[in-house]
Symmetry: C2
Subunit: 165 residues, 2 copies
DNA sequence: TAATTTATTGCAAAACATTTGCAATAGACA
DNA sequence: TGTCTATTGCAAATGTTTTGCAATAAATTA
C-alpha cells in the first residue's frame, strides 16, 4: 500500500500537475495529524517545519485533494470551519465509503463507526421516494464515555485529555 | 394546536421577552415559506412586507428561536449558510425529534423521512462505545426521482421546477 | 545542462455568512 | 401616561475561505 504522498504524486503526474514541496508537507501533515484536522490546524503543523508556507496554499491543496477523492470534509454542528479526514483510510476498516461519526459535545473527540443496517434504511428510502442515493452522512452527538462519567459526578468541563480545538 | 406566533408569544412572556412586529413577521415568514429557508431567504420574504427590517434582526430572532427549540438548523454539504427548519412540525409526523433528510444534488430539493431502525443503530453504538448519544443527524445525498429521470435521458440540469437557491 | 513553459505559490484584498457594540426606539407593565 | 429595559437598526467587526496577480519553481524540451 502506497503512502498518501506517492498516491497523490501519481495522480498529479497523470493530469499534468506538479508535486511541490508545499504539497508534500501538507500531505505529510495529513498523515501525521490523523483524525479530523481543520485547515488551520494543518497550516500550524506545516508552519512548524516550513514557516514560509501560506494559508491559501493549504486551502488550495485541500480543495484539490477533496476534488480528487483523497480526503473528505465535514461540518460538525455549530462549527463554522470544516474538518477534513481521509475516507480512504476508512474503506479498509469497513465496507462503507465514508464512516459514520460520533462527536462528543464536551471534549470534541470524534469516534468513527460503521453499521451494515444503514444500507437497509437507505434502500427503503430509495424504494419509497424514487430517489437515487449517492452519499450518506450520519453524525451522532452526545457525550463520550469519559465525559459522560465526569459529567455525572461533577461539573460540566471535560477532565480527560481531549482536544477542545 | 397553536400557531407559531402564539407559541412564541407565550414563551416570550414567560421570560420577560417582548413580541415585536419584526418577530411577528419573521415567524409568519417561517410558516409561509415552510421547508428549509436560509436567513437570507427569510430576510427577503419579510422585506417585501416591511422594507425597513434589518438582516441582523433576522439572525438574532432565528438564534433565539433555535435556543428555545422552535427551529433547528442544518448545514448541507458544501453550503456555507445554514438552513433552518421546524422540528416541531416533524414531531407530529414521526417519533424522532429531528427528521432525517435527503437532499437532491441537482435541484436542491429536500425530502424528510424517519426510520425506527435508526434507534437500534444508535443503541448499539452506545453499548459498544460507552458514549451517551443526545442527537442524531442523518442526511442522504443523491438525485430525487424527477432529477434522476431527467438526468438519465439528457444532460445534467434539472428540468422540473426546483429551487436552486 | 540550460532554456522554456506554465502550474503553483505568496501576498493582499475580497467574498461570504454571521455576530456584535452602541445609541435610538418601542413593547410591556405600573 | 410614564418608566424601564429588551429589542432594533446601523455600521463595523468577525472568522473562514476564496481569488487576482505578479513572482517562483516544477517539469519538459532542446
Amino acid at each position: 500500500m502506497d503512502t498518501l504522498v506517492q498516491q497523490v504524486a501519481t495522480r498529479l503526474r497523470d493530469e499534468g500537475g506538479r508535486m511541490t514541496s508545499q504539497r508534500r508537507l501538507i500531505l505529510q501533515a495529513l498523515e501525521e495529524l490523523g483524525g479530523h484536522p481543520t485547515a488551520e490546524e494543518i497550516f500550524r503543523h506545516v508552519s512548524r517545519q516550513s514557516p514560509g508556507i501560506n494559508l491559501s496554499t493549504v486551502y488550495r491543496t485541500l480543495n484539490w485533494l477533496e476534488e480528487n477523492g483523497f480526503i473528505a470534509p465535514r461540518w460538525f454542528e455549530e462549527e463554522r470551519r470544516r474538518e477534513r479526514f481521509e475516507p480512504a483510510v476508512q474503506i479498509a476498516r469497513s465496507h462503507h465509503p465514508t464512516p459514520f461519526h460520533f462527536r462528543c459535545r464536551s471534549c470534541n473527540r470524534i469516534l468513527e463507526f460503521a453499521d451494515p443496517r444503514m444500507e437497509e434504511i437507505v434502500a427503503q428510502f430509495e424504494r419509497r421516494s424514487g430517489a437515487r442515493v449517492k452519499d450518506v452522512e450520519l453524525t451522532l452527538y452526545g457525550l463520550c464515555q469519559t465525559c459522560a462519567k465526569t459529567e455525572s459526578l461533577s461539573g460540566t468541563s471535560p477532565h480527560h485529555e481531549g482536544f477542545i480545538r
